[in-house]
Homo-oligomer: 277 residues x 2
Amino acid sequence: MKHFSFREDDPFSPIRYEYEVDRVLCARRTKYQELLVFESPQWGRVLALDNVLQLTENDEYYYHEMISQVAMHAHPSPQEVLIIGGGDGGTLREVLKHQNVKRASLVELDSEVIAVSKEFFPTLSSSFADPRARILEMDGAEFLAESGEDFDVIIVDSTDPVGPAEVLFSKEFFAKAATALRTEGILVIQTESLHFHRDFICGVQQKLGEIFKTVDLYTVPLATYAGNWWTFSIASKTHDPRDLARSHDVPTRYYSEDVHRHAFLPRSLYNKMMGED
Amino acid sequence: MKHFSFREDDPFSPIRYEYEVDRVLCARRTKYQELLVFESPQWGRVLALDNVLQLTENDEYYYHEMISQVAMHAHPSPQEVLIIGGGDGGTLREVLKHQNVKRASLVELDSEVIAVSKEFFPTLSSSFADPRARILEMDGAEFLAESGEDFDVIIVDSTDPVGPAEVLFSKEFFAKAATALRTEGILVIQTESLHFHRDFICGVQQKLGEIFKTVDLYTVPLATYAGNWWTFSIASKTHDPRDLARSHDVPTRYYSEDVHRHAFLPRSLYNKMMGED
């Protein structure tokens, strides 16, 4: 294998992205998906699932800091955090940077993603050893429906909204998340590219808006994801997530207080996107 | 030809981008470069020079609005505007949206780019017919050195900083531009991707900083350019380009007053980039 390409005829991408491969470290079919780890000359180690790039060692910090730190700073005191998906451990690492977190539960359907991260991505999986981390190998939607537990922050760090992850973008799921969130609770969901998946993002925003007091959208530019202008939908019960409820005192490479405020989509673009201008 | 790929072994891109091609409309070698126009199923008509995508009909407005409208709104009264490069006419179109512009001079080295735009890109080349447009087919650096004219806004809308365009990123060129700018003058330069060309951008910012009072950087997320997190370096003699000196009253699809302010890189990222944090 000399090159890795995002899956052919990907309905989510009108551009084909190809990466040079120095060496394949792991390629196997798990119970749920095709799993591939390779060494790239430019990006370090790369993880792909079902031929879609999930992370590269060299730029994963943009995604993992941004999916985690915005809610972790918009909430005044996040103690119980739930991560759905995120089997690579990057989001868990970001959440556990916060000393006030008492427990971070990671609910991942595919245990082999966790195993592969432990083997090949030490800078991401280091957080699995934290005593505050609880790892559950099960379906995130089922966990939310059945556990009866409540949380300050819920982060949905899933694959693309097709196949097993589709349910995580339904109104039913958002309603369950709202029930599981405490009074000041905040929900964050990775919601694809603003260039390529605008209708999908609008749908998520509308569904969230029927349930939560405050719904918003923030972005990060990602070189290695198809469509690159990556979005996170954020829904909050009490606080405006554009505001920091706490000062920024954890080590980060991209996230900062001004990046937090800057990341939210300008109102004019938001209204245009939603057809409200 | 079924696919168009950015040039192989591009030193500027650690990802290879490939586009589906429905039909090639024009492929020829000009005096300066390989010129290609094709029809894409997803992006409309596409222009490539030396195997690097220059624009697509469907998303060119992001780039052309942002290279033009920020300076056009940060300057209190832009009457004389110089565009170096920009042979497709998109930047000229944006500049001429402003009624107070008395003359917009476009200095393009390769006249065949202008001819091809007139033939295949009517929504970009329409502005060539404006009586306020002056088209000069010559080297932009030479024009600036020899013409003795002065301008309110100078926009450098060039290809990548290799080959004929390299001179447009030199300190000597920036000094000539500063001389040609009036007291309230503003210079804008397309300066590649913040993901892929950070050192290059820092170099431009440093060189500009030795000449201009205010130097800054703003960005736009572009799906179709390699590295996508596109930057514009802006240098100003009097006004802070983060501020709008005039209200926004020209039709735009992406640019707006809050997009103007939002586009500038947060200070924390700017300082990190420049190694000043």
